[in-house]
Symmetry: C2
């Protein structure tokens, strides 16, 4: 069995056993070495964002002291949900290894698949209302004019 | 000007001034009262997940001591990126007020729009490789069989 996935699965098992959250684990690897590992802690921390991938990315960023993880790969026991996929994009991770599919995760009652369908415009699910456009746009211009800005 | 958006914009301005991150602020509201507010801190914390909406959701969950924020609304100075939208879904927030569009955020150099295009399958951007399917699937079954499981 893949050594990295073994650790991700071990994390997930620990999470189930401790009742920390859903059955999901993730590992971040750089140059063949594990930088961080985590499991879902939504129930433990009452934090809807505490998915395994998010926590693993946050830990890896703390270890490497940078938000750019483009030299890392991620191993996760299930295909990332839209939130985690977004985090992977922002972390500039280019390669993700995963175990189970969206459909399989949906079959045990999680909403990842439905959220993807909402994002693709196939289902409704959120009211998005634009307000205060002009004042908000000024913020973007203020950033654009900032000479010492760092891009991420 | 909308009072909630005023606070979100003030947060964003503070973030620009302090060089904490991008020009984005967010506020979470319940029963007409502000529960939490935050601005982007990606640069300050070297954490790629430290977007205003994510931080505001995390703070609100700490305040209310629950992951379900379905009785809350979110105000954000720019349309949420896929990561933040995913977090909004998981938090069960039903209504989001936003200031600027994906195109406007893209025009000052941020990748939100491109990430949406990758998710919709319109662009390439990530290698997703399935491995260790069987062992990973066992985790989902273990969860399914767990009698005292809490669903989120």
């Amino acid at each position: 069995m893949n050594e990295m996935m073994k650790v991700a699965i071990k994390e997930a098992k620990e999470g189930i056993q401790k009742d920390d959250g859903g059955p999901f684990g993730a590992v971040i690897v750089k140059d063949g070495k594990i930088i961080s590992s985590a499991h879902n802690e939504v129930l433990k921390s009452s934090d809807p964002t505490a998915h395994a991938e998010i926590l693993a990315i946050q830990k890896a960023s703390r270890v490497l002291k940078r938000f750019d993880l483009s030299d890392c790969e991620l191993y996760t026991t299930s295909k990332p949900c839209p939130m985690c996929l977004g985090a992977i994009f922002w972390a500039r991770i280019k390669k993700v290894y995963y175990g189970t599919s969206e459909d399989e995760v949906a079959s045990i009652g999680f909403d990842d698949k439905r959220f993807y369908e909402i994002i693709r415009g196939e289902k409704e699910g959120l009211e998005l209302i634009q307000i205060e456009h002009e004042e908000s746009l000024r913020l973007l211009h203020a950033w654009q004019k900032k000479e010492d800005k760092r891009v991420y």
